[in-house]
Structures are given as C-alpha cells and as structure tokens.
Symmetry: C2
Subunit: 385 residues, 2 copies
Amino acid sequence: MIDYFSSDFKLGILGGGQLGKMMLYETRKYDIQTLVLDPSEEAPCKISCNYFERGDLMDYETVLNFGRKADVLTFEIEGVNIEALKQLASEGIKTYPTAETLEKIQNKAVQKEFYKSENIPTSPFAVFQNLEELKSSINNGDTPLPFVWKSAVGGYDGKGVSVIREADDLNELSMGECIAEDLIAFKNELAVIVARSASGEVKTYPVVEMEFHPTANQVEYVICPARIDKRVAENARNIAEKVSNSFKHVGLLAVEMFQTEDDEILVNEVAPRPHNSGHYSIEASYTNQFEQHIRAILDLPLGDTSSKVGGIMVNLVGEKGHEGEVVYENIDQIMQMKGVTPHIYGKKITRPFRKMGHVTIVNENLDEARIIAEKVKKSIKVISK
Amino acid sequence: MIDYFSSDFKLGILGGGQLGKMMLYETRKYDIQTLVLDPSEEAPCKISCNYFERGDLMDYETVLNFGRKADVLTFEIEGVNIEALKQLASEGIKTYPTAETLEKIQNKAVQKEFYKSENIPTSPFAVFQNLEELKSSINNGDTPLPFVWKSAVGGYDGKGVSVIREADDLNELSMGECIAEDLIAFKNELAVIVARSASGEVKTYPVVEMEFHPTANQVEYVICPARIDKRVAENARNIAEKVSNSFKHVGLLAVEMFQTEDDEILVNEVAPRPHNSGHYSIEASYTNQFEQHIRAILDLPLGDTSSKVGGIMVNLVGEKGHEGEVVYENIDQIMQMKGVTPHIYGKKITRPFRKMGHVTIVNENLDEARIIAEKVKKSIKVISK
C-alpha cells in the first residue's frame, strides 16, 4: 500500500466548489496533501487544501501542468479537459475516474448509447446533431410530443433539460447536439451511489428517493432510505452496480433512476463524483460519500455504506427576488430542531435558485425526520442583505 | 442574532493543534471565518483557517494583538496568557471560556479549592507551595503514603501527575506548587462533557468510561455510553452540570470523575475545551463536541447531545522505540473493519507515546464495538520510517 497519511503523497482535485470543500474535510482527517485547481479566487476550496491554483478546467495546458504536480488526480465537476487527463495518464499520473469513463459520461448522447449497448435499462431516446434535426423529426411525426429534451453537453442542476409539451417550448432550447427521450410516467425518482475502487471492490449505498421542486427542477428533499418496496430497492442497487462495472468506473458514481408505474427501474443519468443525493451520508452513514470517494480512488478498502439513522437532505437555494450578499434567515431556529445540521458552502453572493448550502435532518424515525425537514424548509430562507 | 455565516465575523482560536484542527471542520461547515495563533509553523491548524499567525500563547503582547483581530476568542489549550484575555474582554472582545473561569482551572490547587468551596464532591487533598513543604509534611506524618501528587500548573497527558508509593518516588517530581490527593479506590474513571452557552443554556453528553494505558497514564479506550448503572450515570451528569454552572463556564467543559467502590462520584479535574474523551462524538453523536463548542461560544442553540450509535475511541500514540517520520502501519487493515474511522492529526514526527491521531469505532452494539476496538489496537502501529 502506498503511504498516503502524513506523507509526501499529493492528491490533485479539479474543481474547488462545495463538493471539493466537503472532500477536503476527509483529506484533512487523513492528513493527505491536496492541490486544487479552480477558475475562481472565491472558490470554497481555496483554504483547507495545501496548494490552490486559479485556472480554467477546460484548458489543456492548465490542467496538464496542474496535474503533473499530483500523484493521483480526481475531479469534483465533470467539465474538465479530457485530453489533458489522457496525457497525464500516459505520463503515469493516475486520474480517477479515468478519461475513458468520463468521455462516456460527459456527453449525454454518448451516455445513453452506452446504456443501450450494455443492456442497461433506460428510457427510449433519439439523438439529434442540432435543433433543426430535432424540429424536422417532430414535424414529420418521428418524435411525438410530449418528450424530454436534453442538451448533450453542459447540462447541470436543471439547466439543459426541458419537458417539451408543445411546439412553442422549442424556442427556448439551445442549438447544439441533443437527445429526445420518452417522457416516462414514474412513481419515484431514485438514486444509488456506487463506490468502486481502483482494484475493483464495489459497494452500493442504500437507495435514496428524491423530490424535486415543482418549477426549478432542483432536488427539494433527498430521503434515505427510499420508502419503496424492498425488491425494487434491491433491483435498483443491482442495476447501479452494473452501471459502475460497465463503465469500469473508479471512484463514486451517482446513478439517477426512475421507478416506473410498473416498478421497472430505468437509468436516467449518472454523475461520476460525490453527488448532492449523497450529502445525507455525512451525518447518516457509517462512511460518508466523500471519504468513500477518497478510499476508492486511492485503492483503500471501501467503508460500510449502511446508515446509522434515517437521513433527509434539504438544499438551501437562493430565494427568488434576492441577489447580493447572503444572509441565512432563521438559521438559529433550525439549529434548535432535533438532528438538524446546516452546511454552508461559503458562497458570498446569493442568486435565485443558486445552491448555497444544504441541511441534513437525521432521526431514528424517518417519518419524524420528514416532519422536521418540512419545518426546516419553511423556516430558513436564503436571502440577500 | 449576530450573522456568523459567510459574513465578516471572525472567530479567533488560541492554539493550532489537533483540537483546533477538528474545530475547523465545523467552522468550515458553517463558513465562519477563523484566525489561529500557534507557536509552530507545523501546526495542524495552519491550513483550513482563514488567517494563521505564529506566536507564543503565553506572551501578553502576542495574545493581545492577535485577539484584537477577532470578534470572539476561544482556545483549544489552557496554557494561554490570562492577563491578555482580561484586557481583551475589557476592550469588548468576547473571550469564551472567560479569563475568570480559566484562572480557576489553570492552577489545579485553585481548582480543587474551588470544588471544596462549591460543595462539589472531590477527593481529599492538601496544597503545598513547593516540594520541600510536601516532603516535611510526609516526614511529620501529615501526608501518609501512598498519595497522588499533582503539579499545580503545566500538567498535561499524564505529565505532572504521579502516584507516590515510597519516599524515593519523590525524587522524580518537579519543584513547584503541588497538591497531594488521597489515592482513591475507584471502579471506573468517567467523564462527562458539558456544553454551556453564553446565555446559560446547558446540555450534558452521555457519561463515557475511560480505560487508561497501564504505564503511560494515557487513555487507551473511551467508551460511550459508560457501562454503568443508570442512577450512577444520572448522578455523574448532574454533578458535571453543577461544575459547569459553578464555573459560569461558557463553551465545552470536560469533567473527569471517579466512580468509587461505593458508587460515589468524585470530580477529578476539568478541561475547559473540547477533549479527547469527546472524540467519539464526531461519528457517534447527533452533535459532535467541536460543533457544540462553537454553538456554545457563539450563543447559538445547543445541539442534541445524544448518540446515534455506540462509540469507542482508541488513541493512536507513537510506539516505544520509534522516533522520526511517521508511518501508520496496517492502517489499511483497520479501514476494512466495520464502523472504523481513523483520524490522523498531521504531526510529521512520531515519538514514544506522542498523540498522533485517534480511531473511532461505532456500532449499534457496544459489545461488538469493543471487540473491534481491540482488533484495531492490535493491528495499527504508529512507527517511524
């Protein structure tokens, strides 16, 4: 085993946002040296890493030169220069997840084709090189309304995804490569986080259930464990594990899924990193997702993915009509509630729907947690001064 | 309420060791700005705080000038300049715990006298201004052997405490002010951590049970909850709460106690800060001790002190015969065990008995945790390269 702890070993992280910040709690716990690259001087990761560099994650030279300072390189955001990762790998720097895996995920059209070729259940879809192609397909009846439009690249936090119900909805779409997916009637949106280590050890976390905000298309509650049938949960975990193995993924993979009206599981999409749907694990799990990611990419034994208690996560997003220096109104009120832990990401400026933090509610009784979660949601407001 | 979160508010911390380091996980979680003062450039806190200053914690001017940069000042080690804290308080900078409380604790003779005056149960003792006074008291029969000698100042981690069984044992003692305590026949060494906020809200953690290393006088296992009678535990928590209130203590107070053969509780000594006996709380408690300390000194609502699961803490101390660059032998083995989390403090050099980290073992079943804890203890070794 390589000596990672209080040693000269260096872990590089591409991206310095909240996911990286929470990952750094774990590298600090293990005293693993870290280097972080992020385009912003205000990056939440700027302190807590051993070395911070400001730079463009999509720029070949920047990523290459940064990566050469690390022994193992990972990322907390998918939008990074893949060619630089390939070059680094050829120079013997371990990049996990690998460029080859990331390539299959970064582009949603490629991702969907991959599921098809691997016999992983996913909703029916068609790929279009641009918006014009999609429009003619609708016009000649090959793509019936309604359907789900997804931009092949650059989608994030509800951007790049739209339900198309009538022709007018097309006007708001971006021009590039896209997919049209069947609009699935589903009971639940679920997610399973899979950890897979460099030597192939695999563990799945319990299934979580997601409730989305009705308009902003952002997750409102993440509930662990999902209140679903045991067999459905088992099936979801098996499928998630299959996805991770198919990708030969190393690190964490968050697999988002639909539970259809017929209790079928369809893979929606994946994120090759710690994920919003796993934040509950910091307070609820034996091994939280960030520690698990580090264990996986450093080829350490994976930790126990089971939960100590039930967990619910509420995102803290900026209120509509508020832009400016952030204030967390009534945060003292929610801190009085049982099992409530706020996480503040450290962004100084709030904007409508911007992810500013999250709150975890843990409880032995999940129903009680759900009641408290609603109180949390009603109390705290992310506003500007 | 003052706006602490992502604001200009600044928390100063005197001392930059492992306790401060673990406190910084929580200030980062809340995005509270921190300043740290420590004499060493290698201090574990050096990264993760917003501003680090190297300086002597016992130097009046250094502490005063550092403290003036903070809005609230706390400490992670008791050996700080009290006069500077008093001056800062007079200038309107909140210092928690206060200089007045710390003054009663820093000197163990004063601390014992305080318990006596407050009717807090503690073992019988006598105070001596120097070693000569103690020797004559032994010679004229006023202090019968055996007894426990404690240096009034500077004791830490088993230093400054000695069981005196025969006259020769006196040769190894330091010269200064000291106390001689009756050697108590006890069943258990217990500890209770009390949180008391600036506005007087008080909460106690469950009683923990400590097992000491037979020779090094360092804690070997900390077990939560202590496997003791419910009424004894209740009594211990009540006494700990009384101690905190008597001191008008603000922040965390670790109250170390003896459970005598007759199930009496005697207060041994206190530490006015997060404490080794509370490390289990990071993984086991709803609110860990470091978060609780911050809540208390910032006058935020105190969090739930109860446990999600049983917890056992094992200190990682340097092996005998090893001095030099540290290696954590078999750390990968213990990471395979259920519910095991190592914490590496980040000291580069190991020395015999130096506290280099700790390991927490959590489990729904405390007996199972105890079995795993022993396996942990037998596997991992803190050695030099």
